[in-house]
């Protein structure tokens, strides 16, 4: 545990004033190249690292951003975080991660903390059931919502275009020759579930088709997928494909259908949603799925935040397209 090195020590070693040392290290001012070099070597020798607090006190910038996950840090937050880090890391910014755990009190507490730390901006994220209330109004720093969206249209939100994902899934199933397509998804009150289902239905309708059976709403679990398989089988409906609201549902369905003697994809083709590695690869056969490109969303959100920090804020909701990743569960 050494003692921290300050710029005055560097200046002293190089035989200059602290002001000159600062200029030398930051490439400012008019200095002889030789002096500059001398200071840099002194800094190197002492292992000098500038105190960020002192610097930000002077400059007003901290080069930090806060990331508040409103519900718990989960599977979805990781790629978002990685994407954001990518975009920010290049600009040398650090991220404060705050897990509000779906508690408004915690959320406001974290917001306060971030403001006291004078972050340059804030990214708000979380799994969405629907648009959320803005985290604050008249905040002294820009805020960008990622994955989740703000109810205030003046706020900047970056979200996946889930309807686009659904359309891709349905078009893909149609392209591989399926026509009797069923939809199995999560809770009806969940924004993602209803948006995805509706877009799928609309895409079918555009082809003059309807779901093979009325859309089945349930939960986001494998258990529900298995249960839904039973329901589908029991109706006797002649289904040749199922578009699922999540990979977990798809996987449960795959398991139960296989057990009941249906062969995937020959008898029934399957498409999931999320493209969650362990699920799509663990599924038998491997699962075709829709990828929301969460990393891209994280990256875009961070870029929007940087733009806002630099004075050119974007507004409104930015929907990013999804991507279909074909695998054996829909192979022709």
């Amino acid at each position: 545990m050494d003692r921290a090195v300050t710029i005055s020590q560097v200046a002293a070693l190089a035989g200059v004033s602290t002001g000159t040392a600062s200029k030398a290290l930051n490439g400012r001012g008019a200095l002889r190249p030789e002096t500059r070099l001398r200071v840099q070597q002194a800094a190197e020798q002492l292992g000098f690292v500038a105190n960020a607090a002192a610097r930000s006190l002077q400059t007003g910038r901290t080069y930090t951003v806060g990331m508040i996950t409103t519900d718990s840090i989960g599977r979805f937050s990781i790629p978002l975080l990685i994407g954001a880090e990518d975009a920010l890391g290049a600009g040398q910014m650090s991220i404060f991660l705050c897990d509000a755990r779906d508690d408004p009190i915690r959320e406001q507490y974290y917001l306060r903390t971030l403001l006291s730390r004078k972050v340059d901006g804030i990214i708000v994220t979380g799994r969405r059931t629907q648009a959320r209330a803005p985290i604050g109004v008249g905040l002294p720093v820009p805020v960008v919502y990622a994955f989740i969206s703000s109810a205030d249209p003046a706020d900047c939100s970056v979200v996946p275009d889930e309807a686009d994902g659904s359309r891709r899934a349905i078009r893909h199933l149609l392209a591989v020759g399926r026509r009797r397509i069923a939809l199995v998804t999560g809770p009806e009150h969940h924004h993602s579930a209803s948006v995805r289902a509706r877009a799928a239905e609309d895409t079918l309708a555009a082809e003059g088709l309807r779901p093979a059976v009325p859309t089945l709403y349930g939960e986001w679990s494998e258990a529900w997928g298995r249960q839904a398989a039973g329901i589908l089988l029991s109706t006797g409906a002649d289904v040749d494909a199922v578009f699922c609201g999540s990979d977990q549902i798809a996987r449960g369905l795959a398991e139960a259908l296989t057990k009941a003697g249906r062969e995937i994809p020959r008898d029934v083709a399957l498409v999931g949603f999320d493209n969650w590695d362990v699920m799509v690869e663990g599924c038998q056969p491997p699962l075709t799925s829709i990828d929301m490109d969460l990393e891209g969303i994280g990256r875009t959100a961070a870029e929007q935040l940087l733009a806002a920090i630099n004075g050119t804020p974007a507004h409104g909701q930015h929907a990013r397209p999804c991507r279909l990743v074909p695998r054996a569960s829909t192979a022709v």
Copy 2:
């Protein structure tokens, strides 16, 4: 975007000096209760939040810690992070999350950044095949390794006692009457795989038993689990239980065994490792598993870090016991 409120504005509004305002807000000095209240109300009214940079410049403490994940932020990092946040949040500290992505250059870069931000301490985490080299020597702040351990025994590491987990798994299988137990796990060169396997073998040996077949090493995947099932069946060995090195392996095994007509747990009991919710619950039947209590490890690591920050550092490797979570796959 309001302008930030400083303590001088609060002081002015309350009609006192900045020094007095500071004392009033921090409960220091000798002030009339009435004055204190007046300042507090002024602060409230203006929405004053102290500038953390200015404060830390003066006090030397930043109330922030850095968390560096050496390999990518993954499934294991989340509970660790949550645990750490728990322990630190209570003490009002914030966490800088840095993802080094298994790149030593990035790692050193992040270390530098954290030091410039004068974090009070650093938690290093990551999944590793074995103990890692210390992240730095003679650092000006305390460091605690979580989940992963440092090769330097003088460093403080908090890790799961994986051997303990294995013993619990084997004892549980013995307790439910199994004797012909097979072991299927990850790559032999992977520290966790070998430690878990060896502890399991030793526990069996202590009962005068040996694994039903030589330990099968492979990868940490469901695919390997399925493949291993095939191997077990083909040897014709009369196995009545399998202890797997991960939940994914166990799940693959469960699927393949069921398909081959074996009933779980009647014919073969299964124990996994990690207690990963989606795996243990998705498995049919639900999987008995070993929980390493990652949240507890994160919490303990943070507590150790706080202790070190407060001047009483711990040294050496602290192994924390695991927990067996019984489910249907080993039900009697």
